[in-house]
């Protein structure tokens, strides 16, 4: 089952990011909303109107894909004008020129308007794809991992751009990704998908600090949260079987002694790989720490999260 149970409200002007690994049902949800797939059950309302029986064209949504699909023989300007010239919209030429000018300005591609699409860099092409969606001013923009084919630097740049553009236009965006950085940095609301089910929906900070399950807790945070048997440390509440400790929530100095297996220097921070009663723990420390493999350090939990045997949050 691709999408099993998803209920959510995307508020007007929100930037909603659906986060989940491959196969979690992210793309299916987008395709259901856009009308490219038909749901077996359930309803989809856009601006208060049920759209499940409408064609994709009638729903007034746009979709941006991972692989930018521009018309290679057309210029940037013609690519941007294309959706506006569709017989359904039938936009006056003066209005088309105005919209293209405005969108090109926002996306910083004004100077490329007369270039052929094939003369653009990858980042510019993806900007044009996004621009082609923005010119239409639909009720909802749907985006399917639009940045994932770009290199890391460009991705970081476009993350900021996309969020700025969304805020400036007051556009409503539903964006799917498997990249937790994109979810945390851009979203006003994050929806976490697990095997077709929406398991938590809320602002990034709430998802990070207050996850409803161990699964959600592992989706955000790098390095990943340490999941350990709750009995390793004193103070576990009744019913807790797992203690979740984010790397920054492993306090050093007091508590249980454990062995340092590896010291990983990443420049801005150093990761310590520890071993406690046969369990691996990763924590962060000062970049220039003198700790070395073989050292014994004492650790204790700080702000731990507790989960029951089924992975549900208990405290």
């Amino acid at each position: 089952m691709a999408a099993a149970d998803v209920s959510m409200t995307v508020p007007n002007g929100a930037f909603v990011v659906l986060l989940g690994p491959t196969g979690a049902g992210k793309t299916t949800v987008l395709r259901l909303i856009s009308g490219l797939e038909v749901p077996d059950e359930g309803d989809i309302l856009i601006d208060g109107r049920s759209v499940v029986r409408e064609t994709p064209a009638q729903r007034n949504v746009t979709m941006v894909f991972q692989q930018y699909s521009l018309y290679p023989h057309l210029t940037v300007r013609e690519n941007l004008a294309f959706p506006l010239r569709s017989p359904i919209l039938n936009t006056p030429e003066a209005e088309i020129a105005r919209k293209i000018g405005a969108v090109a300005e926002i996306l910083h591609i004004s100077h490329k308007l007369d270039n052929k699409a094939t003369q653009l860099s990858g980042g510019e092409m993806q900007r044009v794809s996004i621009g082609r969606a923005l010119v239409r001013e639909p009720s909802l923009h749907l985006m399917d991992e639009p940045l994932s084919s770009l290199d890391a630097k460009l991705r970081a740049e476009l993350r900021i751009e996309l969020k700025r553009v969304q805020q400036e236009l007051g556009a409503t965006l539903l964006y799917v990704t498997h990249d937790q950085i994109e979810a945390m940095t851009m979203a006003t609301h994050v929806g976490v998908l697990d095997q077709g089910r929406l398991v938590q929906f809320g602002p990034p900070r709430e998802i990070y600090e207050n996850p409803v399950s161990l699964y959600v807790a592992t989706r955000l945070g790098l390095p990943r949260i340490n999941a350990l048997p709750a009995r390793l440390f004193p103070g576990a509440p009744v019913g807790a079987s797992t203690i979740g400790l984010r790397p920054e929530h492993v306090a050093q100095g007091d508590g249980k002694p454990c062995e340092v297996l590896r010291v990983e220097r990443l420049g801005d921070q150093t990761r310590l790989h520890l071993r406690l009663d046969g369990h691996d723990i990763v924590t962060l420390t000062d970049a220039h720490t003198r700790t070395e493999p073989g050292d014994i350090i004492a650790i204790a939990p700080r702000n731990p999260l507790y989960f029951d045997a089924a992975g549900r949050r208990v405290a």
Partner: protein, 365 residues
């Protein structure tokens, strides 16, 4: 087990120089990273060490012997490629056994040796499976097994994790490093991923356009980049470059940007002209009192920290600050710089200026 010494190594393809006069030393048992963007010459360097390319000039010493012009088969090196390159018609055991059988080792010995290697890699359970149905991780383990089984002097790895997805790559890089720690064999590893290089390497060579930009321990390269290229390539977000026109004298501890004196380590050489004030994102703090001002363009929440993008009179910078410090796009903030960590560069050549911070590091090659 081997020490590898590279002296003035050079490779030309026709008129194109892939590698220009490189020299470095790989200590016995080191996990050594060749890092750089595509086309920088890192793979060519690795292939020359392995004997898959012959150098145009220069020397390659493995275990005290000069092997630069010898074929790969005489160097006793194992190579692991990005694409797993397994024999598809053989099962896991046959794939791992192959190098030993072709050396003429007895059946009993091969069996014992393959068993040992399978145990190291945790793949005892799949020895009789065909390689076709294996997951990406298991295929890469088998490829590693085939390299390890020969017990070579050194391992050469060309982006062996490049084809894996991000989550699994993180896992495999831990596994590979742990394997290295158990076996202690000299390993030369090519990657374009700076985080992978920092995470796994004992030493890193950073290459660009066929030239070695810097050679050293990961933390030294991060803290004391020899060039703007290295400063930009290592770290995420990368080092901020504030461009300005100014001057330093030996002994001075600040530079003037936009009429404000900003702190820097004690200078060890004079310079005047177009300069760059290089500062890492985690060494910028926001403070209302600081006279150097900028305007917040964006904030990016990352859990315990956030990245704040700020427009300053000298260009855009990114600061990494605690996420509980309230910051909004559009507001004006003061920037405090941790002067002890600052690098100054000659903007034109990209070379780091000598200071108390990088003393001893710059005479690297």
């Amino acid at each position: 087990m081997a020490e590898i010494v590279i002296r003035n190594l050079r490779k030309e393809f026709g008129t194109f120089t892939a590698v220009q006069s490189s020299s470095f030393r790989i200590e016995d048992g080191e996990f050594f990273m060749l890092l750089g963007p595509s086309g920088c010459g890192k793979t060519t360097t690795l292939r020359m060490i392995a004997g898959l390319e012959l150098p145009t000039s220069g020397e390659i010493w493995i275990d005290g012997e000069e092997v630069g012009q010898r074929p790969a088969s005489e160097r006793d090196i194992a190579f692991v490629f990005q694409m797993f390159a397994l024999y598809p018609h053989m099962n896991v055991r046959a794939n791992i056994s192959y190098p030993l059988i072709s050396q003429g080792m007895s059946r009993a010995q091969v069996r014992a040796r393959v068993g040992e290697v399978a145990k190291i890699l945790g793949i005892e359970g799949i020895l009789n499976r065909p390689v076709g149905g294996l997951s990406g991780g298991d295929r890469q383990r088998v490829a590693l097994g085939r390299a390890i089984v020969r017990n070579p002097k050194a391992f050469m790895m060309d982006e062996p994790l490049g084809a894996l997805d991000a989550e699994f790559r993180e896992h495999m890089s831990q596994e590979l490093r742990a394997l290295h720690d158990r076996m202690g064999a000299t390993t030369v590893y090519v990657t374009h991923d700076q985080l992978e290089a920092m995470q796994m390497g004992d030493k890193i060579v950073v290459m660009n356009h066929g030239v070695i930009e810097q050679f050293g321990a990961p933390q030294d390269i991060y803290d004391k980049p020899a060039t703007m290229f290295v400063a930009d390539f290592i770290g995420s977000p990368s080092m901020n470059f504030l461009r300005f026109r100014g001057a330093v004298q030996p002994g001075s501890t600040s530079v003037t940007l936009h009429h404000q004196a900003l702190p820097a380590p004690v200078a060890r050489e004079p310079f005047e002209g177009e300069m760059v004030y290089g500062v890492r994102p985690e060494h910028i703090h926001l403070s209302d009192a600081a006279p150097y001002r900028g305007r917040v363009r964006a904030t990016e929440y990352l859990g315990t920290t956030q990245i704040v993008t700020i427009e300053t009179p000298n260009g855009q910078v990114k600061a990494r600050i605690p996420s509980d410090q309230p910051t909004r796009p559009g507001e004006t903030v003061g920037l405090d710089f941790n002067g002890a960590t600052v690098m100054l560069f000659d903007q034109q050549t990209g070379r780091a200026l000598r200071s108390d911070l990088n003393r001893g590091v710059l005479a690297h090659v």
